[in-house]
């Protein structure tokens, strides 16, 4: 804006002025702003270096160094920056488990974790478990047991199940473990309780538990 409004504009002049005004006159006149200007106004600080941080981490065995807006969740780093879209965004509030990934072998909700807090961490997503030509044994089990319908929760179910099995192997009790001082037996009910943070709105739960149960038994036999 180079021209200044006259100090005492007539009604006609005022209308002319506001109707031709470009971006920068007043952010409140949103209907007159082109969409690009709107984006710039709604997130004016996105380019400010003060709100950027560099983080070094390993994802599926690849070492990465990325500079990020501090607000970026681990989930958005994976999906939006790195295009690892196997990890899904369901609720984005830690209620559904679709975004479950393994951080240093431990399962967490990637949506409720800031990417900048993962300096030095080793992250495994569903892309790091297996490939279409060489599926992880648990992925094979999900195919065999028909453990999904739409498949949206599957990557979270897989990562969660693997993290859960590590927890059980380490002797971590659950809400339904009868005795806190006796080693855990991973019954069907134990699997259900431990997987309660992963919702499946198609209702494939029985088949999900079937696949995990079979994998856990095979895993135990090979140990």
């Amino acid at each position: 804006m180079s021209s200044k409004p006259p100090s005492n504009p007539s009604r006609r002049e005022f209308i002319k002025l506001t109707s031709t005004a470009g971006a920068g006159v007043a952010a409140t006149v949103t209907t007159q702003l082109p969409s690009a200007a709107l984006v710039e106004i709604s997130v004016p600080t996105i380019h400010e270096k003060a709100f950027h941080r560099k983080v070094n981490l390993t994802i599926n065995d690849i070492d990465l160094s990325v500079e990020l807006d501090t607000r970026t969740s681990l989930l958005d780093l994976l999906r939006e920056k790195l295009k690892l879209t196997g990890t899904k965004k369901g609720c984005d509030h830690g209620q559904c488990g679709a975004c479950t990934v393994l951080v240093n072998g431990t399962r967490i909700n990637a949506c409720l974790s800031l990417a900048v807090m993962h300096e030095g961490d080793n992250i495994t997503t569903v892309e790091g478990l297996g490939t279409p030509d060489n599926l992880h044994a648990l992925q094979d089990g999900f195919v065999e047991h028909d453990s999904y319908q739409c498949g949206y929760c599957t990557s979270g179910q897989l990562c969660s199940a693997l993290g859960m099995l590590t927890e059980a192997t380490q002797g971590m009790p659950s809400h339904i473990t009868p005795d806190l001082l006796i080693p855990v037996t991973l019954s069907r009910d134990e699997i259900k309780e431990r997987m309660s943070g992963n919702l499946c709105r198609c209702g494939a739960y029985q088949n999900i538990v079937n696949a995990i149960e079979e994998y856990a038994e095979r895993d135990r036999e090979t140990l």
Partner: protein, 316 residues
Amino acid sequence: MRPFNFITAESREHALKLVADNKNAKFIGGGTNLLDLMKLEIEAPSLLIDISRTDLGQIEKVDDGRIAIGASVTNSALAANMDVRRDYPVLSRALLAGASGQLRNKATTGGNLLQRTRCQYFYDTAQACNKRLPGSGCSAKGGFSRQLAVLDIDDSCIASFPSDMAVALRVLDAEIELVSLSGTRMVPIGDFYSGTSMQPHIDTVLKHDELITRIILPRPLGGSHFYEKVRDRASYAFAIVSAAMVFQPDGSARVAFGGLAPKPWRVEFAEKLLTTDIDEYVRLAFSGARATHENQFKIPLAKQILKTLISKHREL
């Protein structure tokens, strides 16, 4: 989410200096509740101070038999700790009844104490809420209140406190260590939560420049420990009513409740009645209850939970 600066604190002192210098700064540990609230812009700190690398992740035995839990210890690690499982099983049980496996792996002990209410009117920024925006009113009154509090509430707020862990810590008489640049103070958990008192936006006595560093459990108190949680689904839901209870061989008992109030609810002076006159205990411990038509079942439910736990204990 509003933009914020982010600093990884190198030490406790570093963290305390940073927070003392910035009125809009917040500590972040696990972040499972804070980030949730920041996404909704209910919380909008200008600076996040990451305390996850400040050496607060240990569970240690103190000389006199007490146990000190570092504020950054995760809920999973605390629930699985062998000393806790053996000597304070009510605490393990409460932790395992809360949240999901994924959340417990991230959520910390200090953060669990500070989690905000899950009242849906607090979460919905289009609704009036005195806890979120003082003076704006309370949409929960006359709204959906099945989950909300019936004790220690007033016209300003009927929110309930969601933690399971804190209910067990209340029955165990844990103490909370608060550190600032000017010193350290120990606060019994019974004095930590403010209750409503027409100031629902203030949840605890924690000051802006203070950091929770450790939670101290008293020497093992023995007895039989129980944590009973009634909720709307079998797993992964907040309590409608919960109870942490410890029975001693000499016939005495103590109990704290979750889901009834804006803080863990324990009425020590009535506890001598727990094993002799339940009706009288209920009358004294829940006097002044103020229920809505949607949550008036909570007091009878709490009484039923008590009876169930007494039967379970007798069957041992």
